[in-house]
Structure formats: structure tokens, C-alpha cells
Symmetry: C3
Subunit: 354 residues, 3 copies
């Protein structure tokens, strides 16, 4: 968890620590500019450093009260003290490390945790208060298991992974290295699988597992179901927001982004670099191609080709969706036009008859 | 938690306790009417008091088996025993206090809770079994922290707030007075923030917090993300239902109502008195004006002016949405009409040519 | 929890255990076919048994590497070793019992659980680590209460019910026999009920409860609110997926299926055998008839008759929805046609005038 640290730096000292080039309006004394924290352009006070994330923030930057601005050469504001860097966000990460260092809990097992003697906990890992770790679980180096987490039998958690309080990893789930899982997420609930036997729905055992690859992030209260027989999978580097549902047997590729409240139904295969915006629904047994973009609230019906951007429910290519929406907007007028054409034609026919 | 209490009252005694005026059909003996509980009009039995919440319930009221009806003068049912009050729901609250008094747990810390010595717990607060309270947390007077709650470092909980079992308040979150938070809610998960650095999505630290103002209610398994740098905010008196997602930096005004499964994306500003019905999605960086109403399942696209009611995905003013829906309903017929007009015109042109 | 068991069987021995008829391509020696597990058709290896769930899987079955196929007579693949049974899934359940037997925890109360002496726990029930069971709760025979569950005051849990880790059953909730509830589900949060008193929204006490009938399954992080006064109800045999919201006073019938992220608002009555696909929203105070099917992402507006299938937001009968969608697809062209007709008519009128 990152915590604010008291730290006061002159502008030249900060420039040195961030590897930034200092550029000041003529006549300003850089040593008189004292910084003690980070802020957004809008909220910054004279002792804050603020970030200029791109060209569209130039107006906000020139109006900001910030003591100094972190910018690229292209976005420099000549009338303001600037720290010029090749990449704003890369330098910003260094600034976060200065003022909000990541403070790890001390290694070891909290005395209130319930850890089975047959679990393997790396000596550099920390297990929080009232966590449960069952037999056969393997917890890697530098792992943080938050308070009240549940780590089931034979679960594996890779090195450097962070489990916030109250994460549930159920029996046999495998989590890679450098993964972050937020509070309340459940990995390993049963898939929603029933078959009709003798006229009633009977539960089909769900005996597979989940594989979460390295550097994945999973949001608060998100749910991922174990596979029917093999493994539900989330590919390396994919980021999943809060309250998302991933059903059994789903395969999510690498470096995908799934925003909040997305749902992906069973056995669907999602390629690499796919973006799903908020509240998208994806049905079962389809394929979403690499780098496809599913716009917010879309209800996908069929497989989506690689690189396609779709919108709507049922979702269609976004350009076609735009055309249809524009046409529907004109529809009430068009219906009146049709009525008017009918009357004119009737008249023409009538006149002809006469 | 409110619990049913055995309590038997004659109708005059109940009238006295509720400050109600007793009105009976001629010839009925009020002391012979004995009440021992509350019910709905439909389910009430002869020993129940039932509420008549307005004019539209008059038929149900006149058919109810209830022993007595709580009504306003305007909705009085002459042929039934009535307790007449100026405001039905205000009197109903008093009736709940009689039969379902709110029973608070005894103050103090359950011996199984894990409370850091550097946490400040008011002596009138109660901390339930297996709760965790970390260093620097401040728990106010009369606060109930339910079983298995997690209260992180430096969290503040104001007087009289009720946390149901298994609520998670992560590091530094601030909760006001008289707030109610339901089980499984997570406040303080990281915002979903990434920037592309050297070709891959890199997590941006989320070091802000959340401010929940007084008298807010937050539903079960709802998630609220901490701000990137400052504070995500929920204004006083706002009510948020279950499974809602509030993203980082969002500002919710006062006295809003957000129904279940609503999602509000990052940095959006919501005014006062806004109503969002179930499953509404609101994108990032827009503004929802005061008293706007977002109808169920709407997918908002742009800022919504104060007082506007919108519907659809993308959402538009509800009147325009109604016109478009009505027009689309007539569209299959209109397409046939167009075909018919074409034929008639072809014929007219053909005849003319001949 | 089912766990993989090492077990190696010859094909004739497996046939005997499953009550299946063995059918082999001519010349194959059945005793040379050795099986040690289950798989899907796609992933199966030569020592796996795989299931052929129906005619549409015949191609996959004929290409599968599985050592043997479990099929009905109608779907038999002559060139592959087959175990022929009257019902594939019924036989598959027996195969799961062989290779993935359901291993119950030992009966008894884990020493770290906090169980009130006034709770009644059947001696054959198991209470997991760090669970809380409050006074008056009654836990039936063979019940599994998972780690970190919360069982509130006067809750009832029927025989043979399975609560996965971190399920929350709040005060007075009643759960039947043979129910399965997944991690993070919350049963008994307050309904979302407010009335305007003196110009502000005031919380109305929610003092009812929930009745979950026998053989229901409830998904991970799903929320079910307690009734205002009587009981929210989920009928016998109904299956509810993850992240579903059931509001106060809702009545769900028997043998319904509600997919992930469905929301049902207050006091709505759902008949028997109703299917709601993912992300459907159902408003308050309506009625969904028996065996109705609400297709994915539909936003229901009014009551749905028995047996009807609906789609869209607002939802309409699926055939009508299909007609409208097809018409909208043709609309951009139709608008151009209208323009063209206008020009032709203008020309006809013009010529006539001349």
C-alpha cells in the first residue's frame, strides 16, 4: 500500500531526482520553488507538482496553481516552471515513489491467521490477520496476502503478487507473478452448468480450475468461475475492473482491458489486446478477435473479427451503428414524409383518372 | 438490527402511542380490536396494523383483512377501523419502533476481533467478532462494526454509523455520521488507471481516498474506488443500492438515488438529487445535472442537463426516445408503404411515357 | 468439494461401472484401452473418457483423441471405442463420482470459528475456520459452512446445504435443504426502500426475511435483499448465477434460471421455469409468467405473459424485435428511397403543371 511521506524538495533537487530538465520563465529563482507533494492540474497548490498528460491539458496547465509542471518538450508552458521529461507518466511513476512509497507489510504470518501446516509459505511473504490458508497451498516470495483472505487447498500464488483484504482463491486456483487482486474478488466459484436429466435441471460438477497469468489485475468483487474440466484463463498483463463476471472455460488473451460490470459467458475465447468498455455483455461459445473494441453497454451476439469496433445490442460495427442511429433519429420526420408522398400520389392518380 | 418484539395493544392504546385519531365504523367497540404486529395490506391478518400509503391503495385497503389501517384523512376508509394521521410513513416509523425496535449490540470489542492498539475506538462503539481494525483508525460514538469487517489504516468512521458484517473500508477512507453500509461493500479499491509506457499498459498508483458524507446508505457488494490523487466523494443523504460501481474521482452530489447495478465511470460529476434507475451506465469525465433522472438500463453518452429525464443507449431525452421507439414500431409497415409508393410512381411515369 | 482421484480402469471395467454397453471397431482389444480421467472432446488424450453431449458434437467426437467416448446409441461413432448409454449426462455424473469424488470436510466446528452457545449445530455439520454463527441459528445435518462464513441470529440452514467460504446469511434468513451458495453471496441486506418525509428521503425499516427453498443454487457475490415485512422468496430448484441482484419482496418461482448480472427489482413476481439470460433487468411490481424467456441484456418494461420470449430494451416479443431490427438495418437505404420518390413526384407534378 502506498502512503504519503513528508518530503520537501527544491525544484532543482526534484529535477535531479526525476532526471528532468528544468525550464523556468526568465527571472524566476528555481531554489525558491519548494515542492512537497503531487496533485492534479485543477486541485494543485503552489507546493505541488502536477502532470501535463498531453496537448489537450495545455489550457488547464497554464491556469493551474501548481508550483511546477511535469511536461514533455512538446507541451511545455513557457510562462510556468516546468520539469521537461521524455515521457510524463514514466517520470510521474518516479515522483509517486518519492512522495507515496510502496510500504510492504513485514514478512511473516499474523498470529490470528489460520494456516495449515501443509501449506508452503515463502519466508518473505506476509499473511494478514484472520486469513485462512489451506493444505497444499503454495505462496511465493514477496507475496502479500491481505487480512481475511481465503486461500484454498492446493492454490498457487506466484512471486510478488498482492492480494488485498478478503480476496477468495478457491481450491486449486493458480495465480501468476506480479498479479494484483482487489478485495472481495472470488476466483474459483462453480461454473453455471446444468443438464436436463429426467425432466429437471441437474448440476454438472465443475472440477476444472483457473489460471491467472503474470501481471494481471482483477477488480473488487469480480467473479471468475472455475472451468468445467480444464482451466478458465486470464492472459498475462490483462486488466479486469470491478464487478466483472468471467464464466467457466472462458479464455481471455494477453493485455486485454475489461471495464466494470462486463460479463463474458461460458467457453468464449477472447484474443489479445481486446478492450471491453463498461457493462458489455458477451455470450457463450463465441470468439472475440485480437484488438477488437467492444463499446460500452454493447450486447454482443456473434463472434467479432480482429480489429473491429462494435456497438449496440445486438452489437454491429460502430460505423453501421452510427448510420442506423442517425437514420432512426430522422425516422419520425420520414414517416410524415411518407404520408405526404401518399397524399400527393393519390392526388396525381385521382387527377389522371379524372 | 431491528427484531420483532411481542407487544399486544388495544386499538385506543395504539392510537395514543402513534398520536393518531381513532375513527371507527358505527357500533364497533375499539377496545375489542387487539393488534400485535404490522403487515402489508395484502398479507395482513385481523391482529395486524397495515399502512395505506396513498390513494392508489384504497381498493387494497378496503379488501384488507387488517385489524386497523393507518391512513391520512384523505384516504380514510369509512367502513374500516382507521388510525388517522397527518403523514402515514412518519407514523409508520413510530409503529416500527414499537414492534421492531432497533436492538444495538452491547458496546465493546469482541474478544475475537483483531484491533491494533493504535486504533481509537469510542467506548460506546461495538466491534463484532473477527473484525480487523488497523492502526490509526478512528471509530466514533455508537458505531456498529459488524462481524468480519475490515477497517484499514487511518480510516475514519463517524458517530452512529452502521457497518453490516463483512464491509471493507480500506486504508484512509473517510465515512461520515449516520451512514449505513451493507455486507460485502468495498470502499477504497484502486481506480482502474493505466497509461501506455514503452508499448504496454502500466498501472498508475491510486493514492487518493474516498469521502462518504453523512447519512449515506451503500448497498451490498457495491464497490467504490479510491481517487487517483484526491477524493472520490458521495454527498450527504445519497442512497446507493447493491452491486453498484463508483469509479475513481467520481463526485456524487447530495440526496441522489442510484439503483442496483448502476455504474459511474471515472471523474464524472453527478449533481444533487439525481436519480439513476437500475443498470444505468454513465461514462467518464461527464456531468449529470441536478435532479436529472436516468431511466433504467440507459447508456449515457454525453453530459445531461439539470432536470432532464433521459432513456436509451445512447440515452436521449425521454420524449424524443418515445417518439423514436414509436416510429421504429411502425417502420416495418412504412417500408412496405415505400415499396408500394415506388410501384405507383413507376406506373404513373410509365403511363405518362406511353 | 470434488477432488481428482487417481484411478486407472480398463475399458470393460469402466463400462461395467457405468452400466454402459461397450462397442468397439472390429479388431480392437478392449482390455488394451486404459482410462484414467475425464476430458472434453477437444482436449482429451488417449487415456481420457470424453462425453458426446448430442448430435452436433459428432464431428468433434470423430476427431477427438479420447481413449473412449460416452454416447447414446443415436450418436455412436462406429470407428471409435464407445460406451453406449441411454443418457450421456446421467452416466457422466457416475463417471465424475469415480474420478472426482465429492470429499466432505470432517464434521465438527473448527476451533477458530466463533459459534454462539445458543446456536444449534447438527453433529454431522461442519463449520469452517473463522466462521461466525450467532445465537439462535440452526444448522442442519451434513451442512458444510465454509471458512469465514457469517450466519446471523436465528438463521436456518437445511440439511445437506453447502455454503462456500465467505457466504453471508444475515439475521433470520431461511435456507432450505440441498442448497448451494457460492462465496461472497449476501442474503439479507436491507431492501432499497425510502419515503419522502418532510422533503427528504427517509429509510423505511426492512424487517422481513428471505426464504430460499430446497435445491436452489446461488452464485458468487450475488445479493438478495430481505423483504420489507414478509419474505423475499426463491423457489425450489431455481439456479441463480454470479453478481445477480434480487430486490426486496421479489418472488422467484420454481426451477427458474437467472444468468449472471441479472437484476430483478422490488416486489416483482416471477413464475416457474422462467429463464433470464445475462444482464437482463426486470423492473419492480410486475409479473413474469411461467416459462417466459428473457433474452440477454433485455430491459423489461411491463409484465411478460407465460411462455413468451422477449428481447430488447424496452423488451418486446422476440419475433417483433427481429422484424424491427431488420427494418432498422434497411432504414438508411429507405431514407434515400424516400428522397428519390420525392424528386420523382415533384417532377411528375411539375410536368403536369407545365
Amino acid at each position: 500500500m502506498r502512503r504519503k511521506q513528508e518530503l520537501t524538495l527544491t525544484l532543482p533537487e526534484l529535477a535531479r531526482r526525476l532526471g528532468a530538465q528544468l525550464e523556468l520563465p526568465a527571472g524566476q529563482n528555481p531554489d525558491a520553488i519548494i515542492l512537497n507533494g503531487l496533485s492534479t492540474l485543477e486541485c494543485a497548490q503552489p507546493h505541488d507538482l502536477a502532470f501535463v498528460g498531453g496537448e489537450r491539458y495545455r489550457t488547464a496547465a497554464s491556469q493551474s496553481q501548481a508550483g511546477a509542471l511535469l511536461v514533455t518538450e512538446a507541451d511545455r508552458i513557457p510562462e510556468r516552471p516546468c520539469l521537461v521529461v521524455p515521457h510524463v507518466w514514466k517520470a510521474a511513476l518516479a515522483a509517486f515513489d518519492l512522495w507515496y512509497p510502496d510500504i510492504k507489510p513485514a514478512p511473516g504470518i499474523h498470529p490470528s491467521a489460520v494456516v495449515d501446516p501443509a501449506a508452503q509459505i515463502h519466508p518473505t511473504a506476509s499473511i494478514g490477520p484472520l486469513a485462512v490458508v489451506e493444505a497444499g497451498a503454495r505462496i511465493g516470495a514477496q507475496v502479500e496476502v491481505g487480512a481475511q483472505c481465503f486461500i484454498g487447498r492446493d492454490v498457487q500464488v506466484g512471486d510478488g503478487t498482492l492480494l488485498h483484504p478478503a480476496v477468495r482463491l478457491l481450491e486449486r486456483v493458480q495465480v501468476g507473478r506480479g498479479v494484483i487482486i482487489h478485495s472481495g474478488a472470488v476466483l474459483g466459484s462453480d461454473g453455471f452448468g446444468y443438464e436436463i436429466i429426467d425432466g429437471r435441471g441437474v448440476k454438472i460438477p465443475q472440477v476444472g480450475t483457473i489460471v491467472v497469468e503474470d501481471e494481471v489485475e482483477i477488480g473488487a468483487n469480480t467473479t471468475i468461475d472455475r472451468a468445467f474440466l480444464h482451466a478458465t484463463r486470464v492472459g498475462a498483463g490483462s486488466k479486469i475492473d470491478n464487478l466483472v463476471q468471467i464464466a467457466h472455460n472462458v479464455q481471455i488473451g494477453r493485455c486485454c482491458g475489461l471495464a466494470s460490470q462486463v460479463g463474458v459467458a461460458g467457453s468464449t475465447v477472447v484474443g489479445d489486446g481486446v478492450i471491453m468498455w463498461g457493462q458489455v455483455g458477451v455470450p457463450d461459445h463465441i470468439r472475440i478477435g485480437d484488438r477488437a473494441v467492444l463499446l460500452a453497454k454493447s450486447g454482443i451476439k456473434d463472434s467479432v473479427p480482429a480489429g473491429e469496433t462494435v456497438f449496440g445490442a445486438p452489437a454491429i460495427p460502430v460505423k453501421e451503428a452510427g448510420r442506423q442511429l442517425a437514420a432512426v433519429k430522422r425516422l419520425p420526420d420520414a414517416l410524415r414524409q411518407i404520408k405526404s408522398l401518399e397524399r400527393q400520389i393519390e392526388k396525381l392518380i385521382g387527377e389522371k383518372t379524372v
